[in-house]
């Protein structure tokens, strides 16, 4: 038996999956301040009258970290930057406690300016005085050489033991200094709280005699073991939308192009499956307006859902970007999007007469016929969704390209179908599909497909390598590993791939993903001859390989 629980913004959903079937589901409102309570309420619902020994795997997706950061409840965190030359330092500031220090590295990893120990110590004293206990350290080009970041961290160990420090090269060892800085910063901010959450879960599971493997869903639709998640809490942001995307994939299990739309209470999350594979966000997850280096699926959120209020705005009918309660047919007081679809398409959701009554009142107020009011709302809903979907296609098609063949073989996204997820999908998706002239799928389990997606998702791993044979070094992400390589100018792509693959195996094994390490793919293989004068002095390789999002081996689909 496999259990998946998705703690969303409005509802917490859970499923129990066994041998091709969903045998149990649960849905509870999410208590914003007490995420652990919501989680356990759903879990208890699911395992009631069940032999917990049968549970093999539990996967949780949660908005905890997203909420912590969004609501400013994260712990005060200092950010130490070694920005060197380039953009004005002010552009790199995050929060009030940003410090700019001397020290500079160039793109080949060569030290240009040393750090000033005295200056660092003064900075440490200042941070200590302010009572700040979390510190993120980020140096420009630390992904090519993290010596200076480490030196600053060592000084903290020496002069301010109690401080929790995170260096950027460790959390993300790829180019883009501000994204690395933001990733390190938000990691330092949430590390302890996440640890606390993990400890709570662990003891709650113990109380319930659940001894199965426990995983956390990441923003890229892959899982990570609960114990390892404590090092990278930020990977859990936006795991809710990732659960939906994986849910869309889980209920279809084919290699078609699809648009997955999760229509929730007040938002619709749109994502794309390209030949069955979830599309990644090319710039990583955006947290509080800052780009980060966290691998995430590309998800567009539209402030529009089944519970979105229908109201009069300056005399004309509009759909509000918020909810005031349930749909009238489900016991609410005011009409919502669900009520409109209920009336217009005779869906018989809940008490249909209540839908009519609530809308009739509003129609009177607006001086419109009920039919016309419904038509207008449907138009608004459909056009907002189609516009968002089309923009998503366009954004993907217009991603920058750096090679001739990429430009010549331009991208076109032609969807084969729409996949509806979430409680309101059954009402809205058929209409949307007709307007877009596409087939659609709304599965019986669509309302909890997100939890299913979490339950059966497999681990993912992306490994990036930068090899500079003239310097004889190799830099690896994740982990910020720096390793020697032979300084041979004859170094071949074959050898570079082999090194990359070894790292994938090594890191993958540490993450307990032995079962999936054969299923990798190289996404980037670039090699550059370095010519100085008329001689080749070495080569630079850029390599990326990945175990992409997918499902655990025993999952073959759901009836």
């Amino acid at each position: 038996m496999l259990i998946g629980i998705d703690i969303g913004g409005t509802y917490t959903d859970g499923v129990v999956y066994r041998e091709g079937k969903i045998i149990k589901t649960a849905k509870k409102p999410t208590l914003y301040e007490e995420i652990d309570v919501s989680l356990l309420a759903v879990l208890d619902d699911l395992i009631k009258d069940m032999d917990v020994k049968q549970v093999k795997r539990l996967v949780i997706s949660t908005t905890l970290v997203t909420n912590l950061i969004a609501t400013g409840r994260g712990e005060r965190t200092a950010l130490l930057l070694l920005p060197g030359y380039g953009l004005p330092h002010d552009l790199y500031r995050i929060g009030d406690d940003t410090y700019f220090l001397k020290g500079s590295i160039d793109f080949r990893g060569r030290e240009i300016e040393e750090i000033d120990e005295k200056e660092v110590i003064e900075c440490i004293e200042d941070i200590k005085k302010k009572g700040i206990r979390r510190v993120a350290i980020a140096g420009k080009f630390a992904s090519r050489n993290n010596l200076q970041e480490k030196k600053v961290q060592d000084l903290f160990h020496k002069h301010y033991r109690e401080a929790l420090t995170v260096i950027s090269s460790k959390v993300a060892n790829r180019l883009n200094f501000p994204r690395r800085a933001a990733t390190a910063y938000f990691t330092a901010m949430t590390l302890k709280e996440w640890e606390g959450f993990v400890a709570q879960i662990r003891s709650a599971l113990q109380e319930r005699n659940l001894s199965c493997e426990v995983f956390i869903l990441k923003a890229d639709g892959g899982t990570t073991p609960l114990d390892l998640s404590v090092f990278t809490p930020c990977e859990t942001v936006f795991s809710g939308p990732a659960a939906s995307t994986m849910g869309g994939k889980a209920i279809t299990m084919d290699d078609k192009n699809a648009v997955v739309i999760d229509i929730g209470g007040t938002t619709s999350d749109i994502s794309l499956l390209i030949e069955g594979n979830p599309l990644y966000a090319s710039k990583g997850a955006v947290i509080s307006g800052f780009y980060t280096h966290i691998h995430a699926l590309a998800v567009k959120s539209v402030p529009l859902g089944g519970d979105s209020l229908i109201y009069l705005q300056d005399g004309s009918i509009d759909v509000a970007p918020y909810r005031e309660g349930n749909a009238a047919c489900l016991g609410g007081n005011r009409p919502t999007v669900t009520d409109v679809f209920n009336v217009k398409y005779r869906l018989n959701v809940g008490n249909a007469a209540s839908s009519v009554k609530a809308l009739q009142e509003l129609a009177l107020l607006a001086g419109m016929e009920l039919d016309r009011l419904c038509d207008k709302v449907v138009d608004i809903v459909i056009s907002r969704l189609t516009e968002a979907i089309k923009n998503m296609f366009k954004e993907w098609e217009n991603e920058p390209a750096y090679k001739v063949w990429e430009v010549v073989n331009g991208r076109r996204f032609k969807p084969d179908r729409l996949i509806g997820i979430g409680a309101a999908a059954r009402a809205i998706i058929p209409v949307l599909a007709e307007k877009m002239d596409l087939p659609y799928l709304v599965h019986d389990h669509s309302p909890v497909a997100n939890a299913l997606g979490a339950a059966v998702a497999r681990p993912t791993l992306t490994v990036n390598l930068h090899i500079d044979t003239a310097q004889g070094v190799c830099m690896v992400d994740p982990g910020g590993i720096r390793q020697q390589v032979p300084r041979s100018p004859a170094f071949s792509m074959e050898e570079a791939r082999k090194i990359a693959l070894n790292f994938l195996q090594e890191i993958g094994k540490k993450r307990g993903m032995e079962d999936y390490l054969e299923d990798y793919r190289f996404y980037k293989e670039e090699q550059f001859n370095m010519i100085r004068g008329w001689d080749r002095i070495g080569k630079i390789f850029e390599i990326e390989l990945q175990v992409a999002p997918g499902f655990i081996k025993e999952y073959r689909g759901v009836i």
């Binding site: 030359y85 200094f177 991603e399």
Partner: protein
């Protein structure tokens, strides 16, 4: 909200002239590292665009490709030129306040007739963009400021007789550097006299010297000319570390130049100091165009003292500036006098052009129609023996976008006449008025129209 600066970064990581050539894949590698690490593309000040392919027709609006556009032009060229077109479209649609195409391969040595690659260039990216916006948007007056260390001889040749296109090039003196041209005496042809301004700078000219020329010559001329579009051929080899040239310009100097020049569209040209100049100069230009403070931008080995010029150097520049200002200010007078005195229907000129990359010579016979109404059409007879051993004799007729009706008719008649002559292998007509481009295979009697 302030409009962003459009950037197309196209390093062509899968294309090179040859593995060890200066114009190779590695050229923009460290620039990529620098731009990506700075995170400048993530800023709201910048909008990154995807390159697009230019069409053959876009190329033919500028070039006569021998023997044919299909055989001469490869996709890498079309992407570089297409990137400039894309940014021009975005600029004229009002999406961006200005645009920078960081693309390779470069283009400013490519002339009207293109037999082969010369000076690392096959087709002229800026000219293709300019003819495109003139046709599509009716843009009339354009200024091109070429800040590459090499004389932009291709762009100069294309617009040599066009009074609506001002071409200003400063570069290391042609007596000391490829392509060996760009002297003050090259000032334009026919009605284009005085709208070609060459500024041959002595070797080791620094920020101080270049900014003197910019402030006292380039900017005043631009202000007077009032172009509808300002284009910067943004070569970066005036840098003090460039391996092919011998100048002393810095990243700060380039950034400040762009801040003052305020180009609408900048297109990367040369620059072969791949590690020590390009990452910093490209950053500087983007920052300046986006209105970002660039005072924190510096090369790691930057030293202000090394980069000053002596007083005799500056005196030389002062005289140069005076001379070229005089040329520009008196241009109309000179043109009028020339047209009044010359009773011939045509100017005629013989030229030989060397293609350094592929080592071939082209002989040209140029004729410019001296028309009282317009700048006149051009007839070029060209001969060159290509690398495959085949010698091509071709006839080319070029009708400018601002051509008068008479010249238009006359030029089309010339095209028909030339088709009868067995001494040509190919005859081409570039009809920018009708936006139609013809090539006629004389022996086969087959015409192709784009």
């Amino acid at each position: 909200m302030m409009k962003p600066t459009g950037v197309i970064f196209f390093p062509a990581f899968d294309w090179a002239i040859s593995p060890t050539h200066p114009e190779r894949e590695e050229r923009l590698l460290y620039t990529r590292d620098q731009l990506f690490e700075e995170g400048i593309m993530d800023l709201p000040h910048i909008k990154e665009y995807k390159p697009e392919l230019a069409s053959f027709k876009d190329v033919l609006r500028v070039h006569f490709c021998v023997p044919s556009v299909e055989e001469r032009i490869i996709e890498a060229h079309l992407v570089a030129a297409g990137s400039a077109l894309k940014l021009a479209d975005a600029f004229l649609a009002g999406e961006i306040k200005n645009g920078f195409a960081i693309v390779r391969p470069p283009g400013h040595h490519a002339m009207t007739v293109s037999h082969a690659n010369r000076g690392f260039c096959d087709i002229n990216n800026e000219a293709i963009m300019i003819e495109y916006v003139r046709k599509k948007y009716g843009i009339k007056k354009v200024a091109i400021v070429d800040t590459d260390v090499h004389h932009g001889d291709g762009t100069q040749e294309i617009y040599y007789n066009d009074p609506d296109v001002l071409f200003i090039s400063f570069h290391q003196d042609g007596r000391t550097l490829y392509p060996g041209t760009g002297f003050t005496s090259e000032a334009g042809w026919g009605r284009g006299y005085g709208t070609t301004i060459n500024i041959p700078l002595p070797p080791r000219t620094s920020d101080e010297g270049i900014h003197y020329v910019l402030d006292n010559l380039v900017l005043p001329i631009l202000e007077d000319f009032k172009p509808d579009l300002v284009v910067n051929s943004a070569g970066q080899d005036n840098h003090y570390t460039d391996p092919l040239a011998d100048m002393c310009f810095t990243a700060q100097g380039y950034a400040l130049l762009n801040k003052k020049l305020k180009p609408d569209i900048a297109v990367l040209e040369g620059g072969y100091s791949v590690e020590t100049a390009l990452p910093y100069v490209n950053m500087g230009i983007i920052m300046a165009m986006a209105g970002l403070d660039f005072s924190n931008l510096k090369e790691p080995d930057y030293s202000q003292n090394r980069l000053r010029n002596g007083s005799s150097h500056l005196d030389y520049l002062k005289k140069l500036v005076e001379k070229q200002l005089f040329l520009y200010r008196n241009r109309e007078e000179v043109v009028n006098k020339q047209y009044a005195e010359n009773k011939n229907r045509f100017y005629v000129e013989q030229k030989s052009i060397f293609y350094d990359t592929e080592y071939l010579y082209e002989m040209q016979n140029n004729k410019l129609r001296l028309c009282p109404e317009c700048q006149g059409y051009r007839v070029i007879e060209s001969t060159a023996r290509h690398r495959d051993g085949i010698t091509y004799n071709v006839g080319c007729i070029s009708i400018p976008v601002n051509c008068c009706r008479n010249c238009h008719d006359e030029a089309r008649a010339v095209y028909i006449d030339m088709q009868e002559k067995a001494r040509y292998d190919m005859v081409y007509l570039q009809d920018r008025i009708d936006d139609r481009y013809y090539s006629f295979h004389v022996q086969k009697g087959i015409e192709k129209v784009w």
